[in-house]
Point group: C2
Chain length 232, copies 2
């Protein structure tokens, strides 16, 4: 069965974008300033430029990782705010080239675009959008395209099988956090790193999501015997 | 000249310990539950066990990293709360085996311990403690031992040359954050990964600290010409 996957660039302190502000031109907002910093590694990658019909770019490991992220999904799930921001700039030939299911409260007719992209508007929630995407994915993966809010929601609801984080070596200090998941104080959401690609610009780590598990008070290797029971 | 270094285990969402609570037995507190989870990889490492006079342990890459963290410093700087919590459990032969400078508001006489550890109480601030540690380090590095608060303070004040993060693949959702640094919204604190050791249990990344730099609004690879000026 298709896996549900996501990937996102975050700062070392966990932000995928800067804080929202009142700047009317989004490209000059504090939100964009943080977003541009954490996605800077993408814009010089040949695979990204190619998909945007831009010349040039580096054929390096970052480009391979971008290419992979384009190849694996057979369908996408997207948040409403990302769609609203992208609808115009993506133009007639958006970079998805697969069916996209937009989670929204507003009904709207399906849009067909060039190059294999369509947008279907789903008003009965994220799980329904994932099911519809799975049916459309033809055995390939279902990718939660973003934004960060819907990826966080999928993680919180246990709907994600895998998440790849592109951890950018910068501390932003403020902004929008991807991993701000609501958990009980005595549990953790466990993951397992399955592939790490280390570079000076960014550390790409692909995690399998294991799920919530109780935190355990260990006995510090035998130094404090008597501890070690579960706390949940 | 000695570098000022630090290393700390954090969860994927940036916490080095769980949230503080009113539990009188620290070992059963929510703070400890988070701390124990992110430092679990340490307790089975032979180098750590050996230093605590415990038998057994694994002679693996984690143990090599622990051994390195013991070998590099010639002196330590420590926060007052870490010292208070450790003074009794560390006993007569604490694991530091070097001079330790404790940043505190309370004057106290220097303590001599077995195995090369001494504790000197510094009441005129972090920078002074670092200078005293540098003088005592004999050309080796000065390590900020912890806790997280004083490491964060050193990072914020631009006093750290290097930080090694042991990023543990768990989301805790709440607790005490290491990287919650106070920055201007249009600047980032830049780092460069210098060594990454990837394992299923933890991703060890050693960063060189570059310092604060303005965030730049790039032109998204030429897609939005006219952008690209600095915003600061």
């Amino acid at each position: 069965m298709s896996k549900v996957i996501a990937q996102l660039s975050i700062s070392l302190d966990g932000f995928y974008a800067g804080p929202r502000d009142d700047e009317p031109n989004w490209f000059k907002s504090t939100e964009a300033a943080g977003f541009f910093r954490v996605t800077r590694w993408v814009t010089e990658a040949m695979a990204w430029r190619d998909r945007q019909h831009l010349a040039g770019g580096e054929q390096d490991v970052h480009s391979e990782i971008v290419a992979e992220s384009f190849e694996r999904p057979g369908a996408y799930v997207m948040g409403r705010r990302m769609f609203d921001g992208g609808e115009r700039p993506w133009g007639e030939e958006p970079p998805f080239r697969n069916p996209v299911f937009v989670v929204t409260h507003r009904e709207r007719e399906r849009l067909e675009r060039l190059g294999g992209t369509s947008f279907e508007f789903v008003t009965d929630g994220l799980e329904s959008a994932i099911e519809q995407a799975r049916a459309a994915a033809g055995g390939k993966e279902v990718a939660i395209a973003g934004g960060g809010t819907i990826i966080k929601q999928a993680l919180e609801l246990g709907l994600l099988d895998e998440i790849e984080l592109h951890i950018v070596p910068v501390i932003l200090g403020a902004g929008q956090r991807l991993l701000d998941v609501d958990l009980d104080v005595r549990e953790g959401l466990e993951l397992v790193p399955e592939r790490t690609v280390a570079t000076p610009e960014v550390t790409h780590i692909r995690y399998r999501v294991e799920g919530r598990k109780p935190l355990v008070l260990d006995d510090r290797g035998g130094k404090y015997p008597g501890l070690g029971e579960e706390t949940a």
